[in-house]
């Protein structure tokens, strides 16, 4: 279980308890948090679950796979701390994680 804060592009914050084993994307989608669309449901096929990981948490969220890296290369408004939230698995280590959302996923 980890407490995760999702910050919408307009600044609205949603702090939720997310079960370990789910992805950061699922934590948002299952709780109807706006701003993460995740059209493909977590198959790393669409790049519509883009988030910016708070700098302090970058190391703990792990490495990007080559697949994720390539998908992000062509997403809009990508920053060095961009991740696809379907590829970040929630664990106790991520308790306190903060992710921010881009203006749009499309």
């Amino acid at each position: 279980m980890a407490k995760i804060t999702y910050v919408e592009h307009n600044g609205s914050e949603h702090t939720l308890e997310v079960k370990s084993g789910l992805s950061v994307m699922e934590g948002a989608v299952k709780n109807n948090v706006p701003g993460i669309d995740a059209d493909c449901g977590g198959a790393c096929a669409c790049a519509t679950c883009h988030v910016y990981v708070d700098e302090a948490w970058l190391a703990k969220t792990g490495e990007k796979s080559a697949m994720e890296e390539s998908m992000l290369d062509f997403a809009e408004n990508v920053e060095p701390n961009s991740r696809l939230s379907c590829q970040i698995k929630v664990s106790d280590d991520l308790d306190g994680l903060i992710v921010r959302m881009p203006e749009s996923q499309h």
Binding site: L22, V29, K30, N32, A45, C46, M67, F74
Partner: protein, 409 residues
């Protein structure tokens, strides 16, 4: 009844309908929302049914679009196991099979499509399955495993995914295709050839140009497929994947224009301004290609759900995007963007033998569609180039020495 009390009724609790309901609440819609679905389950994702779920890598909880508790908390009334039998546009009401009548301010038809069945002897035997619903997937999964042989009728994406899952679970698979090649309706020869070889390499038998004469059973359960040439193919279970038929009956009976799908505009609205239709059931403008068509994909379902929900709450309606889809088979991720209309040439980028390549379908120097196998950059860049209608250099596109960024530059 006050107009505002009527709210939104969504007919069909699939991926499209469930998403529309959730989005309406996200967008601040405050009036009642009722979601009517024939299946006993709250909305769930269908794509994993032939992929991760079939291999046991996803459970019911992960399939669900939202947790059970969400609907009550969000004030969304679920009428599951329910069916709308009549739509009265004049009084803006729908009647359920149970006899209940409900009024709407806006109606969303998300009735989906049903699997086409084969009209041959034995089609109703136990073990002759289709794959649309969680119940279908459950029945299929229970018949797969070591020592079990799956016969897939129709070499489309769902059938091939099921064949791959059968192999992953330790069973056998044979694909029976009427055309000279698998994926004949949905992909070009190079991709068909690649998937044929890949499946064969994984131990799947692929039989093309075969006609199904009958399914043979013992004690009511299928044990073999009989081909028109007399050959008998023994099996433990059959998956028929030969396309889908849109569920337009309710709309057509209510006088809404239908033509292999409920006809909608670019904002998912039907000819009745109070009625939207979304997902597999719609025949929609494919603006990028200057024609109409029906799309069976999650991307389409979600795009139209966003459009309908936006229109109902008075937000700007998001424009259509380049359509896309994907398929997971073994360690292959196929991503497709666009539609191969008006194509005069196909450019291959990369080497299929390497397991990573892309096929670009061109009209002149403009990319109309891309099929990318384990090639996410090609998919993503291709999707953008399709949308921008920008001419590219074919020589660069075919040469992996140029990155997709350089191709797109």
């Amino acid at each position: 009844m006050e107009k505002n009390d009527a709210g939104v009724i969504i007919v069909g609790a699939g991926h499209a309908g469930g998403t529309a309901a959730a989005l309406l609440r996200q967008f601040g819609y405050a009036a009642p929302i009722r979601l009517v679905g024939e299946e006993p389950l709250a909305p769930y994702q269908r794509p994993p049914l032939s992929k991760a779920w079939l291999k046991g890598e996803a459970d019911a909880e992960s399939l669900a679009l939202k947790p059970e508790s969400f609907y009550a908390e969000a004030g969304i009334t679920l009428s599951l196991g329910g069916r709308v039998v009549a739509l009265d546009r004049a009084s803006k009401t729908v009647r359920l099979e149970s006899g209940e009548t409900h009024a709407y301010e806006a109606l969303i038809l998300a009735t989906g499509a049903r699997a086409r069945k084969l009209d041959v002897a034995g089609a109703d035997l136990d073990g002759v399955l289709v794959l649309r619903s969680a119940a279908d997937a459950e029945a299929l999964k229970s018949s797969l495993g070591p020592g079990k042989r799956l016969a897939v009728v129709g070499g489309g994406y769902i059938g091939l995914e099921a064949a791959a899952s059968s192999r992953a679970l330790g069973g056998e698979a044979v694909v029976l295709e009427r055309e000279p090649r698998i994926l004949a309706r949905v992909a070009g020869p190079v991709l068909s050839d690649f998937f044929t070889r890949y499946h064969q390499g994984k131990g799947v038998e692929i039989r093309t140009e075969v006609e199904i004469a009958a399914f043979e059973g013992e004690r009511g359960r299928v044990v073999a497929v009989r081909l028109a040439n007399g050959e008998r193919i023994a099996c433990d279970v059959v998956l028929v994947g030969v396309g889908a038929i849109p569920n337009t009956e309710l709309a057509a009976e209510a006088g809404l224009a239908c033509d292999n799908g409920i006809i909608v505009d670019a904002g998912a609205r039907t000819v009745d301004p109070a009625i939207f239709a979304i997902g597999d059931v719609t025949r929609r403008p494919l603006e990028r290609y200057g024609r109409d068509g029906r799309l069976e994909s999650v991307a389409n379902a979600l795009e139209q759900a966003r459009q309908a929900a936006s229109a109902i709450v008075g937000r700007p309606v998001p424009p259509s995007e380049v359509t896309w889809n994907w398929s997971d088979q073994y360690d292959l991720k196929l991503q497709i963007a666009g539609l191969p209309f008006d194509v005069d040439d196909v450019v291959l980028r990369g080497d299929p033998a390497s397991g990573s390549f892309a096929l670009f379908h061109l009209a002149g120097d403009v990319i109309q569609a891309v099929e990318a196998v384990n090639a996410p950059a090609e998919f993503m860049a291709g999707r953008q180039l399709i949308g921008h209608l920008r001419a590219i250099s074919r020589a660069r596109l075919a040469d992996t020495a140029f990155s997709m960024k350089e191709v797109a530059a």
